[in-house]
């Protein structure tokens, strides 16, 4: 048992892009029980007028351009309400980066668990995307790190692992990532760094 906090959706807003029928009546009732506000938007999809924390949409009738954001980059969790399981429809739903789905008819059970899963998936995806972006940036800065490493190895006459330790230590002192530190690294910086660390090195030898 590690889950301590009860997931709570109090005062969160849900937009529902679906015609108002019994499914949606049951969905709205459950959202109300969870302390959420819901807003049915149909047939004109104007999400801009109702900023929401989560969007339920009709997975059976959705089409490209239905959402006011670039395809596959929803700013909030998406939950598809589906009755058709045709592969083409499921492919379209997945292409929207949908975080969870509910099968119609919507029942009184399932709304809470779907919300918990959708928010968790969305958060995990956001974290992963941020990590991916950071890693991509670091990869593009690799040549600068490599250049800096070579300069130190040449000037201080040390092995690669020692040169890397010097770089890492210098970057930490500047409170920068190694990659950022190396982006502005030149012969002069290398000379200063080697001069600073040289007595230590000699001492160690």
């Amino acid at each position: 048992m590690t889950t301590v906090h009860t997931t709570n959706f109090l005062e969160r807003k849900a937009a529902i892009l679906h015609r108002k029928d019994d499914n949606i009546r049951r969905l709205e009732r459950q959202l109300d029980l969870l302390g959420m506000e819901s807003n049915v938007i149909w047939p004109e999809f104007d999400l801009g007028a109702s900023p929401a924390d989560v969007v339920f949409y009709d997975g059976d009738n959705g089409y490209d351009g239905i959402f006011p954001w670039p395809k596959g980059f929803p700013p909030v969790p998406l939950i598809a309400l589906i009755s058709t399981e045709a592969p083409g429809r499921l492919e379209w739903i997945l292409s929207q980066e949908t975080s969870a789905h509910m099968v119609k008819p919507i029942q009184s059970s399932g709304v809470y668990s779907t919300l918990v899963i959708a928010f968790s998936n969305f958060e995990r995806r956001t974290v992963l995307q941020d990590q991916l972006r950071a890693l991509e940036t670091r990869v593009t800065q690799r040549p600068a790190v490599f250049r800096a490493l070579l300069m130190i190895m040449e000037q201080a006459e040390v092995r690669d692992d020692e040169a890397f330790a010097m770089l890492r230590s210098a970057a930490m002192n500047k409170r920068q990532s190694i990659e950022n530190f190396c982006t502005h690294f030149d012969e002069q910086t290398a000379r200063m760094l080697c001069a600073k660390t040289a007595p230590d090195k000699k001492g160690m030898q």
């Binding site: 048992m1 709570n8 009732r29 302390g35 009184s108």
Partner: protein, 394 residues
């Protein structure tokens, strides 16, 4: 409207939690007997009783059996969450109503179920609101290995953690298991402030007995030092535990037999003795009883046992049952309930230690619950307490 209206009563009156099923069934049957003899009701409620014997594989078949023929549209039944969850798909398929009278772990709100028992904001939250200031913030959590114990213990952990306390351990036993020695050993080693007991039936009885035995050689196991607290322990199980072992421990419920209210005294007087020797009256009996009355009163008001008409007649009206004034919310399908803290006294049920003056609306998804606020309230109580700490550890 037919003058004979069938009502399914689906309770395990045998098996590991048979005592509880028996009380629920007896309460419902007592109410049906009164209703059928009362001219104010121009119909009779005809019980269709089935006993799954605590066997989870029997619940679906027996529910289908009750509903066969399409005449029965109301079932009062099930005690455990696992059995309720088992029959809900059938209840929904036939579009009938299940009246569920037991306390449960919440996080459910089925449109085909009327919940007249307590959910977490009506049991574990008020229980901990009383127990933590009195005994402390070190809790040992135990339960039977299924959703009731898991979820009530998870909420307990949230409450304890919010208050800056610790869970000293958390252990589960399979249904029917009486292998409680490891739990006793853990308590001996970790010395918690109190034990939250979510064990069911025979496991619970064995734990109380073992705790009592441990107390003969180690005074830490006395209820004044480290009580066992429960959300589902009532008068109907005290005889199974043995009053010697049960005495002094605590439980919360929306009703105790020893409630000193005028309504309760009149109710108990009208009830007379239950058998010879007389059985005690527990919240399971009373809730079975009042739930049958909710149903009968709704049918009388709308003139039908059609479930939509019954629900419309039931919701948001005031009832005055023995457990005090209440109403059932159209928003949640749950009853508003009082919560009492009871302490088991020798051979005479529970002494009511404290009572919330008003009923609490059910909040089945804990949507309005705030653990930080709960902790702040506890801290305020602790600050106000001028009495020395109640614990005496020798």
């Amino acid at each position: 409207m037919s003058s004979n209206i069938p009502v399914g009563l689906l309770y395990s009156t045998t098996g590991t939690y048979g005592v509880i099923g028996h009380d629920c069934l007896d309460g419902a049957l007592k109410a049906l007997e009164e209703i059928n003899a009362d001219d104010a009701y121009d119909f009779s409620l005809v019980p269709k009783i089935e006993n799954p014997g605590g066997n989870i594989d029997e619940y679906q078949r027996l529910t289908e059996s009750i509903l066969q023929g399409g005449r029965c549209r109301q079932i009062i039944g099930t005690v455990t969450s696992i059995s309720r969850k088992e029959i809900i798909p059938i209840i929904e398929k036939h579009d009938v109503l299940l009246w569920y009278v037991a306390p449960y772990e919440g996080f459910e709100c089925c449109e085909n179920v009327i919940y007249t028992g307590a959910c977490p904001n009506q049991h574990i939250v008020p229980l901990f609101g009383e127990v933590i200031p009195k005994f402390g913030k070190q809790a040992y959590l135990i339960g039977t290995n299924y959703v009731w114990g898991w979820e009530v213990n998870r909420i307990a952990r949230e409450l304890i953690t919010a208050c800056g306390g610790d869970v000293t351990g958390e252990h589960y036993l399979p249904f029917h298991s009486t292998d409680v020695e490891r739990m006793i050993d853990t308590i001996r080693e970790t010395r918690p402030s109190f034990v939250l007991n979510n064990l069911i039936g025979a496991s619970s009885y064995a734990f109380f007995r073992a705790y009592f035995s441990a107390g003969k050689t180690d005074s830490f196991f006395h209820p004044d030092n480290c009580p066992i607290v429960s959300c589902n322990l009532t008068e109907c199980e005290l005889d199974k535990i043995g009053y010697d072992a049960a005495r002094g421990h605590l439980s919360t419920a929306p009703y105790f037999e020893n409630l000193e209210t005028k309504d309760n005294k009149e109710f108990l007087a009208s009830l007379g003795d239950r058998g010879d020797p007389p059985l005690p009256v527990s919240v399971f009996f009373v809730n079975g009883y009042v739930t049958a009355y909710y149903l009968a009163d709704a049918i009388r008001a709308c003139g039908s046992d059609d479930i939509e008409m019954v629900k419309a007649a039931l919701f948001d009206r005031d009832f005055e049952p023995p457990l005090g004034p209440t109403r059932i919310s159209s928003r949640t399908n749950h009853a508003a309930l009082p919560s009492y803290l009871g302490q088991i006294c020798s051979a005479n049920g529970f002494d009511v230690l404290s009572a919330k003056q008003t009923t609490t609306e059910a909040d089945p998804y804990l949507a309005n619950f705030n653990a930080v606020q709960f902790a702040a309230d506890i801290a305020a109580i602790e600050q106000r307490q001028s009495l020395p700490h109640l614990k005496v550890i020798k």
